[in-house]
């Protein structure tokens, strides 16, 4: 299994969210994300959705809760590699106004799954 959190040289904190992102799994990753966020104060907090096959509103809530904390520290949030379906959920919740939504090339690989 992938590690949950990785730091890049540019001091980006990348969170690889779980395959099934629901209320149950969100609760199990929240504390670790928050403690890394506060202790490392990264330049940006990136949620990488490449490995996420299922997401409901609990995924939105997880990001919203981190947004509230990160914005106090002046840390921007990036949502990387959402599927079109996942991106629609963020847009429905008006969250595209708070976070940056970004796609990498390996998106194709994900769509082919």
């Amino acid at each position: 299994m992938n590690e949950l959190i990785k730091f890049t040289q540019e001091r980006e904190m990348i969170v690889f969210l779980p395959r099934e992102l629901d209320h149950h799994s969100a609760a199990s990753v929240r504390a670790e994300i928050d403690s890394a966020l506060f202790s490392k104060e990264p330049k940006a907090l990136v949620f990488d959705l490449s490995g996420v096959e299922f997401m409901d509103s609990s995924g939105l809530g997880l990001v919203l809760g981190r947004y509230a904390r990160a914005s106090v520290l002046g840390i921007p949030i990036i949502i990387r590699n959402p599927t079109p379906r996942q991106e629609r959920l963020f847009t429905m919740a008006q969250m595209h106004k708070m976070v940056k939504i970004e796609k990498e090339a390996k998106n194709d690989e994900k769509a082919a799954k």
């Binding site: 099934e20 629901d22 209320h23 149950h24 969100a26 609760a27 929240r30 299922f54 997401m55 409901d56 509103s57 609990s58 939105l60 809530g61 997880l62 919203l64 809760g65 379906r85 959920l89 429905m92 919740a93 008006q94 969250m95």
Partner: protein, 149 residues
Amino acid sequence: MKKPQNELRCTFVSNSCNEALARGIATSFLIMLDPTAEELADVRCSVSEAVTNSIVHAYRGTSGEVAMILRSYDDGTVKITVSDRGCGIGDVEQARAPLFTTAPDEDRSGMGFSIMESLSDKLTVKSALGKGTKVTITKKLSSKKSSPT
């Protein structure tokens, strides 16, 4: 509506690990009806929202039973009912409004009902304070092949 052509009833305790279980059951029921990938994803997400609401809100601080009934009909319609005997909702119209949540400090976005509405063809919510809540999700599958093979 006519008699269902297939029906599955189940009850589980309000543990959060059963959110994935409920999605799995809904998937198994639907697969027999040959849904498109999009239809299946719509139903899995809607079921997850309804069941999570029962676990998070209805039985807040306690635990109880969540019942799920899945029915399919000859014309390809699927109806899924998720019910609990939890705290109930005082104002259903307000609860259904986008971004409305009574638990913002618990990482809720207030989008559950809006998502269920947008992913299904019809959503009905019946609730009584202190008695519980019953949510019915209706989805018409394009395949029309509603007989299990």
